[in-house]
């Protein structure tokens, strides 16, 4: 059962962050790539929204729009009801590539953000604040290390720490755990859930992992790829996740609501993918049979 929510059904009263009929294209003329079109999404204060989509459907473009790093070609991006003009420290971004500065240590990377938002504070105070945040993500022991000396999971934590250090109202996470192994991923998912709960931030998590989306979010929004390659992606449906928190990963597997939502979402996305594949002029090479419980496999197939 897919709940199709028109714009008006968005959380009340005025959403914190809202996309209204947004479109984004790259290039021009014959080379124009239509990445996103007709995207409407309203995010309420304190809400944790997960955007799920396959690779190459414009997830990063969506994050850039929400952060104000790029401007839409049509429609509007509203922040507290006002048109958004530029990025700012109230919207913390964890970039897909982490974007840590390799010439700065862990603490210095975090300090950069603290200094930018609290430059008027005393030096010692800022230093302390940066240390607190490094401790929050569990990296105190590595605070003098440089990014190249860290594992992928640790780099991810630094990226999260830097985003938290600017004390943002909204956290935008662009596939933050995408490059990590399954175990590290599970650990960080737990920490992310704890931090989001404790810090009461509004969070937009972009991911290709349906389980991750259901584990962490209040609402899952699939970013639907266009019917044919080259067609823009859209958002049409919204799946509220009514699973009480804190959610335990192991227990979730037996939760009826969780299994129902996962089946719905998986079949929803797979149907879209099948439609897209059918419209391809050349048939794809034969692939192993689908395993609906493993969205990562599904991603590869599609």
């Amino acid at each position: 059962m897919t709940r199709r929510l028109p714009d008006s059904a968005a959380p009340s009263p005025a959403p914190l962050l809202e996309l209204r009929g947004v479109a984004k294209h790259y290039g021009s003329g014959a080379h124009r790539a239509r990445v996103l079109e007709g995207i409407s999404l309203a995010i309420g204060e304190g809400e944790f929204v997960a955007v799920v989509g396959f690779s190459g459907t414009g997830k990063t473009t969506l994050v850039n729009l929400l952060a104000g790093l790029s401007t839409p070609d049509a429609g509007e991006v509203l922040l507290r009801g006002e048109p958004m003009r530029e990025p700012g420290p109230d919207r913390g971004v964890v970039f897909q590539s982490y974007a840590l500065l390799p010439w700065l240590s862990v603490l210095e990377n975090v300090r950069l953000a603290v200094d930018a938002v609290a430059g008027e504070r005393h030096r010692a105070e800022r230093e302390l604040r940066a240390k607190e945040i490094v401790a929050l993500v569990g990296l105190s022991h590595a605070s003098d290390k440089h990014p190249r000396e860290l594992s992928g999971g640790m780099r991810q934590r630094v990226a999260l720490a830097r985003a938290l250090a600017q004390d943002p109202q909204i956290l935008l996470l662009d596939e933050p755990l995408g490059a990590l192994d399954a175990l590290t991923r599970a650990n960080l998912q737990r920490e992310l859930a704890a931090i989001a709960l404790r810090q009461r931030k509004t969070v937009v998590l972009v991911t290709n992992d349906i389980d991750e989306a259901l584990l962490l979010s209040d609402r899952v929004v699939p970013l639907e790829p266009g019917a044919a390659p080259g067609e823009p992606a859209r958002i049409r449906a919204s799946f509220p996740v009514a699973i009480p928190r804190p959610r335990d990963r192991a227990a979730l597997n037996h939760d009826i609501e969780f299994r129902k939502l996962r089946n719905e979402l998986t079949s929803h996305l797979l149907a879209l993918g099948a439609r897209r594949r059918a419209s391809r002029p050349i048939a794809p090479p034969p692939l192993p049979p689908l395993e609906p419980r493993l969205p990562r496999t599904a991603r590869r197939v599609l």
């Binding site: 530029e86 913390g92 970039f95 974007a99 500065l101 930018a116 600017q166």
Partner: protein, 337 residues
């Protein structure tokens, strides 16, 4: 560990050649180290010996208007006599200073006015080397001060780069010999001071060096800045860093390896150009030394010029090594293993 630190220091200093010796000292795969030493030192040594022998054989057969072309032995002798001249000149200067100090004390005791006088001997070969180094660093400094900010500007703005590019391409290949007359005339017209800090010839040479050597730094800085990871710039945008903070905290550190590559090329070009500039501007450095030797045409002329050739080559090589070391220290991810 001491060994690893020694190896790292050698690698940073561009002296990778000696790494096998350190490894050999700790008896790490001695056979392999010996092979590497044989390869890294043996081959160049053979080439060097062949060069010396060939030079000696050819030189003795070449007659010129001022005698035979000097072989290795004569050049070594010429180097010795240049060093000897330097020592003799310093002794004379010391003696002169001592005499002056005596006279000064006597004059002051007698209540007479005293005017300081400095020793006015000819600059020796070592003085000339020092002047050349000073000049090239002055030119290099001017070039860096102009080229790095301009390069950053070109790298951050595609418009500025598009505007500057034709000018860069136009002036980059210009020879120092073409710049120098213009620079000399402009310097004589504008640099007029009763008590100048620097000689005009020094200023002209330094500016000419700067004009010829700023291009590699400019182009490399622009390329380095343009190649900065877009995500890093997005970090600056999200944090709303000011232009100054962005340049200081993100742009310069990110582009530093490129900037150092440019500086290294610039210093090489500057050193090469300097000799020609000094010859014409009569700046008392190595270039003038070569020119003076050429003019006076004594029996030792060719040998002394050959000494200058080796000095110029040796100093150029040493400067390049220093810049490689700086470049390796500055690169934040590539060279660090």
């Amino acid at each position: 560990m001491l060994r690893d630190r020694a190896i790292r220091a050698l690698e940073i200093g561009g002296l990778d050649l000696f790494v096998p010796f350190v490894r050999l000292a700790t008896w790490e795969e001695p056979a392999e180290q010996m092979r590497q030493i044989g390869f890294a030192l043996g081959a160049p040594a053979v080439a060097f010996v062949v060069f010396i022998l060939g030079w000696a054989a050819v030189a003795s057969r070449l007659e010129t208007s001022i005698g035979t072309v000097p072989g290795p032995a004569q050049v070594v002798a010429a180097a010795r006599s240049l060093a000897e001249e330097h020592r003799a000149e310093r002794e004379k200067e010391a003696a002169f200073d001592a005499r002056m100090a005596e006279k000064k004390a006597a004059a002051l005791a007698a209540g007479k006015p005293w005017k300081e006088r400095r020793y006015a001997g000819r600059p020796t070969y070592l003085d000339q080397i020092a002047t050349s180094l000073k000049t090239v660093f002055a030119g290099f400094l001017i070039a860096s001060i102009v080229a790095i900010p301009l390069g950053i500007l070109c790298g951050t703005s595609a418009t500025v780069y598009a505007a500057m590019n034709p000018l860069i391409q136009l002036f980059r290949p210009v020879s120092p010999l073409a710049w120098l007359p213009i620079v000399m005339i402009v310097v004589s017209a504008t640099y007029t001071s009763a008590d100048p800090w620097f000689e005009k010839s020094f200023v002209s040479s330094a500016i000419t060096v700067a004009l010829c050597s700023l291009w590699p730094t400019l182009v490399n800085t622009a390329v380095g800045v343009a190649a900065i990871d877009k995500d890093h710039l997005n970090v600056a945008r999200v944090l709303r860093l000011s232009f100054a903070a962005r340049v200081r905290k993100i742009v310069i550190p990110a582009a530093l390896p490129y900037i150092f590559t440019g500086l290294r090329l610039s210093l090489g070009v500057g050193w090469m150009v300097l000799i020609a500039a000094e010859m014409l501007a009569q700046n008392p450095g190595l270039g003038k030394f070569v020119w003076d030797m050429f003019q006076n045409g004594s029996s030792e002329t060719l040998a002394r010029i050959a000494v200058a050739v080796f000095t110029i080559g040796g100093i150029g090589f040493a400067l390049d090594r220093c810049m490689i070391a700086l470049q390796r220290i500055s690169s934040h991810d590539a060279a660090i293993a």
